[in-house]
Amino acid sequence: MKIAVCLKRVPDTEMRFAIAADGKSVDTVGLKFEISTFDEYAVEAALQLNEAHAPGEVAVVGLGPDGLGEHLRKALAMGADRAIHLAAETVPYDALAIARSLAGALKEQGFDLILFGRNATDTGSGAVGPMVAELLGLPCVTAVSHLEISGATGTARRELEGATATITFPLPAVLTIDEGIARPRIAGLKGIMAAKKKPMEVRPAELGAEVLSIDRLALPPERQAGRIVGEGADAVPELVRLLHDEAKAL
């Protein structure tokens, strides 16, 4: 099976950050970056599928600045076979602009599956995957939490609010990967050494016009530091009184 996985480089979600002087972006000084969480799940899912349905290939594809290279390399160290780096100094916020560029790189390459994260941890949108599917005319299932492939047919499960849907789809297809499907493996030394020799193709991203941009970025209001009502079960009546009288939450 031939599988492509789209990876985004995003700020480490554990880091605190500041807004840059332009008021519309994050101050990158001292910022650490990582592969977006769900994208790393998608890499793991692809590697497992490939192990179960050998022979095959896992290609990782990313659009971003120079710094993206090390994250694509990390995916190669996990076990992916090759990488495509669509070079762009800045990544647009506009999902359609990203999708058009990725679709251009992914089309006519004979991928049986193209995997995305459920959403990128920076935008939180979940838009690029289904947009690529539309642009390529491929069937698409989003937020997949369980996946089985048998021949040219896939069965996926996705969690709805309060319910679970079972879905069948034909290959080739686009999927976006949710929590539950796979936890990413840690690359070993052997993988890291092997990754150095794996092919990484770098070419310009060829981004078109953007229709969506960030006007303003702000930190949300800090939550007021709370109050410890007391210790142990004896504090419960006071808590309930406060919830009722002060917070009006009962």
Partner: protein, 329 residues
Amino acid sequence: MADFMVFAETRGGNLRTVALETVSAARQAADASGGGTVHALVCGAAGVAGAAEALAAHGADQVHVVEHPQLAHYNAESVAATAAALIQSTGARAALFSASVEGRDLAPRVAAKLGVGLAADVTAFEVHADHVTATHPVYTGKAVATLRLVGTPAVLSIRPGAQPAVEHAGKGEVSSLAPALDPAAARVVVTEVGARGAAKLDLGEAPVVVAGGRGLRAAEHFSLMEDLAAAFGNAAVGATRAVTDDGWRDPADQIGQTGRLVSPDLYVAVGISGAVQHLAGMRTSRVIVAINRDKDAPIFKVADYGIVGDLFEIVPRLIEEIRARKAAG
């Protein structure tokens, strides 16, 4: 004057609350623009037309109903094609979807079909002559972006719970519409939708969420959380990833960066340390209560009220007190 197209989500033939929220948001925006028309699209098996009344009561002027046996379950390809066609034929200035699992699947497909921008998961928006601005939490809730969307139509998905459902009657004319793509021709097929649990409140819709962490020590101790939820009467039980990883709870109960996003009126965190990935899923709750035996646990930094101590002593007492309070009215 701006016209709107709203996709009204149903499940099992019934309108979901998010559909009423989204149509209310459209009504409000149409009125703010000087009185545009609100079109609502509802798709389902025979009988789904019954949803028109509630949509009209919440502001729909024209309800377009697509009924087809193969629309009993969500049919992404057919519905996306129909929504895109309706947006074009109505000349809508903006199309609104709910940022539910289904709406998040649908909106980007429609935007890509129309070759226009999508602002996903917005909490508020404003329509201007040549652009739309929308508010959207980014970086797992650590920042809030004001987005600018140019071009017509603008496609938006509205975060569940961000806009209240408000009764405000629209004209409520109902017409039936043929699907723009034969539902039977769809390649992706939903074969089954199974409800989880026995008619429990969904985490995303419950006014109160009681969430348990590793501090509960074992799956069976979650009966304590179930009892606490029952005492509140309007609560759903959530969990941390530590808990779902250990199989103490269904993965669908996970709250956080890689789980569900909730923003209830009251969130009670029990035996939860308060890792950033957990906070990402609940920090916008109106009132947060934390119960933890470690006074330095990070959860206390976001909690409005905290009790330090052993949850196995505190929670049973809390259940008693809440019951007494409810009984007293």
